[in-house]
């Protein structure tokens, strides 16, 4: 796949040359035109269009300026949080809009080919995987479930307010009792949070045909006073989405007293489940 890169293409400075950026693979039965409209996609790129592939698949693509999508340019752009965000949202918007018209297999951000011909060749070679993925996600969507715990200081202040009665054993025994009490509180909170995370996951997974647990987000995302204990995604039949939502609502009510926050988001394009069909997992 690196053949094109070894060509002395650099000799000819890009005069309005473009490369082909692929956003997603669509099945054969969806709309004939990109749902996002011609104006979506990456900045400076051309109109979104559908590229016919083998097995009646289509690739949702955009011609993007070659100069903006070199390795160097990409590296600089994607390492800049603000520009990364623009890129990420543009990609996500195109994929999401396409999914409204039928099942899609989203491809990772910035899947790039030097031209259509090379894109078709590379994509056709994976058609079995695309077909299997489309079958898996048809009529289903991805839902995200997150559980986070408040800081222990906030949710369960140590019982320092009321001086505990001095037991018969005197100061040493009192010290012992206090230390044991604190340790019990800590252990109990920890176990409660982890148990809740497991329980929430099991509850949601019961509605799903597949599920993945992800790394929890750091406090940069959740805020310093929240610790995420569950970050998971579920592939759910559209017909069961409402059931999932009400089950999660019930959970959230139960967990509120424990200082736990439960959040369900979706439906997402099933990003997290299209890579599993080839048996090579995540």
């Amino acid at each position: 796949m690196t053949a094109a890169q070894q060509l002395p293409a650099l000799a000819a400075p890009a005069t309005g040359t473009t490369v082909t950026c692929v956003f997603a693979i669509l099945g054969g039965d969806g709309p004939a035109a990109p749902a996002a409209g011609p104006e979506g996609g990456h900045e400076g790129g051309g109109a979104l269009r559908l590229l016919p592939l083998a097995a009646r698949l289509r690739a949702l693509v955009q011609d993007v300026p070659a100069a903006d999508f070199t390795e160097d340019a990409l590296r600089r752009r994607l390492a800049d949080p603000a520009r990364l965000e623009v890129c990420a949202r543009a990609h996500h918007a195109v994929v999401t809009a396409a999914a409204a018209g039928g099942p899609v297999v989203p491809l990772p951000l910035a899947t790039l080919f030097t031209d259509d011909r090379r894109a078709v060749a590379a994509l056709d070679a994976r058609r079995q995987q695309f077909l299997a993925a489309l079958e898996l996600v048809t009529g289903r969507a991805e839902w995200a479930l997150k559980v986070s715990a408040g800081r222990p200081e906030a949710s369960a202040a140590p019982a320092a307010g009321h001086p505990s009665p001095v037991p018969a054993g005197g100061q040493g025994a009192a010290y012992l009792a206090r230390v044991r009490g604190q340790e019990r509180d800590r252990t109990a909170r920890q176990e409660a949070a982890l148990r809740a995370a497991r329980h929430a996951h099991d509850t949601a997974a019961a509605f799903a045909v597949s599920s993945v647990r992800r790394r929890p987000h750091g406090t940069e995302v959740t805020g310093r006073d929240r610790h995420q204990v569950l970050n998971a995604a579920y592939l759910v039949d559209d017909a069961r989405a409402a059931e999932l939502a009400s089950a999660v609502r019930a959970l959230a009510g139960t967990y509120r007293d424990l200082g736990l926050h439960v959040e369900l988001s979706g439906p997402w394009v099933p990003y997290s489940f299209t890579g599993q069909t080839a048996g090579e997992g995540e």
């Binding site: 999508f69 390492a79 409204a100 790039l112 929890p216 750091g218 409402a242 439906p267």
Partner: protein
């Protein structure tokens, strides 16, 4: 994206990408799904985006520590390891305190040495 929390019901398919949580988008579009080696290599993502991703995710204990995201290890409320450390520390403190009390002759009432005290344990 429709954040349901526990107030609203499921909505028809139609998320709003503009309002979706960026971290949630990134963890999906960077390397999930079917990854195809394109002509323009962006394996660089793994390296160049690390700085950003470290701030967003608790990627592993080691990287999290490097990035200063060490609550997982140090917050006793969430880390069994930290809880163990806390226990060990407190155990040690207790032992020291007991030893100190014993050398001062302030034995707690009704106390009998039960654990491997070399000179005790022969109460009969």
């Amino acid at each position: 994206m429709t954040a349901l929390e526990y107030t609203t019901a499921a909505e028809p398919y139609g998320p709003t990408p503009a309002t979706a949580n960026l971290a949630e988008i990134l963890e999906r579009i960077l390397d999930k799904g079917i990854v195809i080696a394109g002509d323009i290599k962006i394996d660089l993502l793994d390296i160049e985006l690390l700085t950003i991703r470290l701030r967003l995710f608790v990627s592993s204990v080691e990287t999290a520590k490097l990035a200063g995201i060490d609550w997982w290890e140090t917050d006793p409320a969430l880390s069994s390891r930290a809880a163990e450390h806390a226990l060990t520390r407190e155990n040690q403190q207790l032992r020291e305190r007991l030893a100190e009390l014993e050398t001062r002759g302030e034995r707690p009432p009704r106390r009998r040495s039960r654990t491997g005290d070399p000179e005790g344990g022969d109460a009969g």
